[in-house]
Amino acid sequence: MRTITFASRNTKEITRDILTLIFGIAFPLILLLLLSAINKAIPRGYGPTNFQIQYLAPGITVFGLSFLSLFSSMLIAKDRTTGFVLRLFTSPLRPSEFILGYTMPMIPIALTQSTVCYLCALFLGLPFSANLLAAVAVNIPIAIVFIALGLMFGSVLSEKAVGGICGALLTNLSAWFSNIWFDTSMVGGAFETVSNILPFSHAVKAAQAAAAGDFGAIFPELWWVVAYAVVLTAAAVAVFAVKLKKN
């Protein structure tokens, strides 16, 4: 019950921030519209395949999720600097309830983001199919990766630093290495290697496979992401617990 109460407070705190709507929903949608317009302006067969709506839409949903790190880390960092966390530490709320309360609200936000993105893509010519529901679900592991990163950064960094690290650095890194904007195999070399080690391009490929109904292609890719999600969540819980004790 306490967890739900705390989670509901966090949901309000995040969704009442105009930043959430701008970065979480509006920005990915604008990118989707812009890039698909560019793609339509290029004569058929000459544009990059990445920008065709069936590849672009899943990619943008993953990109949109990178802002989850920003939202959760901003919330936690702000709670730390305002002393609100101290107030909660003196309350009966337990450490596990804390972590759950900060994480849970992010999942519906993630699902909403991906759904809105696919709805918009339908208008841009993405054929409707039940596979899109699978594609939304396939995004959950990468959403957890971003949430865990947010929890981790939010527990150690200041509100300002978090804006830079999660808002600028992380979103850019995940975008470059994601295969959304350009095919990382075309760059090759170390860039491609790093891209293959990081979870972002795997998440995009899994989402694309799911959206295309190519279910066989989801899992080799998704395992990467799931592994990252598990390890990062464990790390985030550890960092959070240490910070909690140190006070």
Binding site: M1, R2, E13, R16, T82, F84, L86, L88, T90, N247
Partner: protein, 242 residues
């Protein structure tokens, strides 16, 4: 009965001992004032007693429960108004109050009723729907204090509650605290000496992490050989800070 008892309580930070073997006893229903210059260790003491931070050594009990081994029980029966104003920025005044009530185990109906009562007691009807972030510092502070009181704790810690309040709001809060006297045990820190003198049953003066004098305001004045409480504080705290 003792509401708070500490035994050789010590808190060391890396290169600094904030609390040095504190021996403090506060009785149930008492309003106890903890005074001392900046850095004396008042907030650190409150942080340990409210289970925010673990003592380096020593032990303390709140309503007979150990802050080291029974933190969960201690947390359920006390509440703190921290030195920093601590409110949820994007929640309304009412939502902030209901949130705290629910975290401490009230159901929806009880928390609504309690929030209504606090809003009335703190004359916050007009701002009940406003988000906390939009309130002035003084109103945020009042809300922060109301959030500590809404759970009707057995033991209440007020760390510089009147900091940042204007004279009228301060007087109003004093009146409210007076009414609470006897209903719960209150530990109050403040830099307003007239506040401590007029409100507190007993006063402890801390210097360099330990209690250097304790008694009623009258007793402390007699001890320092003066009629003026501020004079008494300066004499006692000054001697022990040198």
């Amino acid at each position: 009965m003792e509401a708070i008892k500490t035994e050789k309580l010590v808190k060391k930070y890396k290169d600094k001992t904030a609390v040095k073997g504190l021996e403090l006893t506060v009785y149930q229903g008492e309003l106890y004032g903890l005074l001392g210059v900046n850095g004396a260790g008042k907030s650190t003491t409150i942080k340990m007693l409210s289970c925010l931070t673990q003592p380096t050594s020593g032990e303390a009990w709140v309503m007979g429960r150990s802050i080291k081994n029974e933190a969960e029980q201690v947390k359920a029966i006390m509440n703190v108004s921290p030195q920093e104003t601590a409110v949820a920025a994007k929640l309304s005044v009412r939502e902030n109050l209901e949130f705290i009530a629910r975290i401490y185990g009230c159901n929806k109906k009880e928390s609504k009723e309690k929030a209504r009562k606090m809003i009335e007691d703190f004359s916050m009807e007009e701002i009940a729907k406003c988000r906390a972030a939009t309130l002035s510092g003084g109103w945020q502070r009042r809300l922060s204090i109301a959030m500590a009181l809404i759970t009707q704790p057995d033991v209440l810690f007020l760390d510089e509650p009147t900091l940042g309040l204007d004279v009228l709001a301060r007087r109003e809060l004093w009146k409210y605290i007076e009414e609470l006297k006897g209903k719960m045990t209150i530990i109050l820190t403040t830099h307003y000496l007239e506040e401590a003198e007029s409100l507190c049953d007993r006063i402890g003066i801390m210097a360099r992490g330990a209690l250097c004098a304790e008694g009623t305001a009258e007793e402390l004045k007699t001890k320092a050989n003066t009629n003026d409480f501020e004079e008494a504080f300066i004499t006692i705290a000054g001697e022990n800070t040198k």
